[in-house]
Each structure stands twice: as C-alpha cells, then as structure tokens.
Subunit: 209 residues, 2 copies
DNA sequence: CAATATACTGAACATTTGTTCAAAAATCAA
DNA sequence: TTGATTTTTGAACAAATGTTCAGTATATTG
C-alpha cells in the first residue's frame, strides 16, 4: 500500500503533473522552487526524494528534468508503462517518416517484454495467417533485436508494410508468408526498397469488432 | 508555408518526436548525438537551429530539453489502467475459486476495450488454432457480455478451461473447436459441470519465448 | 562561378541543473 | 515530552547541458 502524501508533497506532486501536461516535459527543481517561492533548491529536492521514496515518481540521478510520474496510484507492484507509437504510413527509403503520421499510441505493461518494443503497427494482410497472425491484429515491433532466419519481422517494401518470416541466405533476403496464397519476396541485401523494421515481439487482437 | 526538411533534418526531427512520445520529454542535444553517432554536440545543435529556423520546433536558450515541437498532437488523455487477474485453476462448480490461486496480474490500457474485461487466462490447447488463437496465448475474458451463437468463449468443464466457439440450440450448449482434431462438446443448459466464464475480447501473444 | 546552406569535427566555455552538507524551525505520532 | 519526519534555508560543488568559435567538406542555388 502506498503511503499517503503530506499536504506539501501533494501540492508539489500535483504541480509536477500539471506542468508536465502543459509543457510536455517535467519541471526542473528550480522551476518547482520558483513556483513555491523556495529560496533553496533543497526544499524542492527533498520533497522529490520523499515522493520517490513513497513510490509516486521515479528519477535517475543527475539528469535534467528527470521526473517520471508513476501512473498507477493504487498498485503495490511497481509497473512501468511503455508508450509506443502506432504507425500507419511507411517508406522503406525513409523509415523514420513513419513516425510523422501516427495513429495514436499504445501503452503496454513493460514487464511483459524482455526487451523494450519500438512501435506498433496494424497487420494489413493474412500472409501469416497460419502462424495465427491475422489481418487487423496489432503487431508490436522490437527494432533492436537481432534477426535470425525464421524470425517473424515487420518489413517495409517501398510504401507497404508487411509481417513475414525472415530468411537471409547468400546475401539474399527472403520474406516468406505462412499462407500459400501469398508469394515469397526476394531482395538483395542492401536493396533500398526494403527496410526491415524489426522483429515482431507481441501480437494483440481485439475480437468482436 | 513551411520549408521542406533535408533528409538529415527529417531524421532528427522524427527522432525527437518519437523520443518525446516515449519519454514524455524531449531529448537533450547529447542524447540526439548518441542516437546518430555524432562526435560533436554541434552536429545536433546546428540541425536544431535549422529546424527552428524552418519553423518545425521552438526553443528557449540555455534550458535543458528545450525543444517544443510545433503543431504536435500529444495524447495526454489520462490513461486508465485496468489490472486483471491471470487465473490458472478452474472449477466449473465453484467458479470463484479461480481467483484464489492467481498467476499474477496483467495491466492493460483501458481505452482498448469497449467494455471492461474481467480476467485473463492462458490458452491451453490448439482447439481454436484456425481462428488464430494458439496454445500459450493470453485470452482476456469479458464476463458480462451477452453470449451469442458464434461467440468465442472461455468455458470451464469440471476443472479444465477451454477456449471454444459457443452455440446454444434447443437448450443444448455446444462448444465447437475450429480445429478438426478436437471434438465438439455438448452440454445440457444448467449442467453443473459447465461454466461459461465469458467472451474472449482480446488475444495477446508473446513471440520468441 | 560565387554565395549560401548543409553536414560534420573538436575544443572550449557558460549556464543550467542536480546533489550534498550543515543547520534550524515546525509538525506529528508515540 | 520525546523523537522522528517534514519543511525550509544557505552555500558550495559536481555534472549535465547548451552555446560559441574555428575549421573542413560537400552540396545547392542564384
């Protein structure tokens, strides 16, 4: 059970939340001081320490604006949330433009991942149907995991995104569907028209849509 | 009209947006440098200046993490988390005992549900494989939704839990697998050995276990 | 072509920001 | 009351972060 906050601690905690919402970033210690007319930075600093001790925020030392507000007020277990963008436009030659037109974000319990995911994408075809990955599913992609033959990956071909099985043989990359109705795609390593976004680490399907 | 960005400027701009979404604060100049393997902080700094000049961001001098993205939509809606129990023992005659021996809990972003879910359960067989529900998946169950013929449900038969398609005809309940290797189960309505836990509203699958 | 913008390096410097130490007063619970 | 926690001050220090200067190189544009 989380310990209750004192009046002052709550004032400062509320200010931090408000500031973060309004400014898209947490305040610095001195900004807190200014708000509450503190003459010493330690006034705010010690309250931050108390908030951290009581589990309301998390911080890492020596970083500017490093207040992370814990979202779960009623939880005993410290749950870390990972917020990831849901991408909807693709460009193999400019993968980063994907993050311009977002379809919102998805928050996921970080503890269900071994390594943090990078982004989410909606599955657009039934090419991996036999693997149980269906059109309309949300695939969570891990951008940094090492690709092995057999990995299920998210690949962008020109302006289209696909989920396929990955195979690299003799500097040729094969994108293999599990469903016979779809063809195997073959690329030379380094082909500018192909970008492998990463490995699929999680599938989420909402039923009854 | 905003001037177009160069490739590099766009890469960095997109990184800033992604970072901000994920971390609820903009990156520092040195964090940008690290991402792009810049040896000089001025590499990132000068791009920031260019982005500002072209009207994509705004900055205030000498402040840490002082990047404000213009016209950027932040999803600041307070995410409500729903914590649901992951059940692992079943008893059709005493359904509530399921919640005594929990296998932990799962927290999910409430906004992805139309109606709040009741509990989660691990799928124990491949009886619904053709529906893309595989052994080992986590099924999120909605206890209160109305059952229709064709609904995918979680059913407890004696001490076993199953995911099946539901059909009620002439006061007989049929539990129908999608996979031929499994048989159709038939029960009289009111049979104490059968308890329908609810409708499956979400499927979560972790890959690479 | 010349001028301008872009893309980087490297090193210093200035400012902001976080941290620590010492201390005192106020508040609160046992 | 006593002791622990909280609240605040003040000063100094350490680390992070932003800024500037000088220089190289390439591409772009009028």
């Amino acid at each position: 059970m989380k310990r209750a906050l004192t009046k002052r601690q709550n004032q400062i905690f509320e200010f931090i939340k408000k500031y973060t919402i309004e400014n898209h970033k947490p305040p610095t210690i001195r900004e807190i001081c200014k708000k509450f007319n503190f003459r010493s930075t330690n006034s705010a600093y010690s309250v931050l320490k108390a908030l951290e001790k009581k589990g309301y925020i998390q911080r890492t030392n020596l970083k500017a604006r490093n207040i992370n507000i814990n979202n779960f007020k009623f939880d005993r277990t410290q749950t870390e949330l990972k917020e990831i963008p849901l991408v909807s436009t693709f460009d193999a030659q400019n993968p980063l433009t994907m993050f311009t037109n977002l379809n919102g974000t998805i928050k996921l319990d970080a503890k269900i991942f071994d390594t943090p995911p990078s982004f989410a994408v909606e599955v657009t075809d039934d090419g991996m149907q036999k693997e149980g990955i269906l059109k309309g599913d949300i695939a969570i992609i891990n951008q940094n995991s090492e690709l092995k033959n057999g990995s299920i990956v998210f690949a962008v071909i020109k302006n289209e995104g696909l989920i396929r099985q990955y195979k690299n043989e003799n500097n040729e990359i094969y994108l293999i569907p599990s469903n016979r109705g779809y063809g195997v795609l073959k690329f030379k390593e380094g082909d500018k028209n192909l970008w492998i976004g990463g490995e699929v680490s999680l599938i989420i399907r909402k039923l009854n849509r």
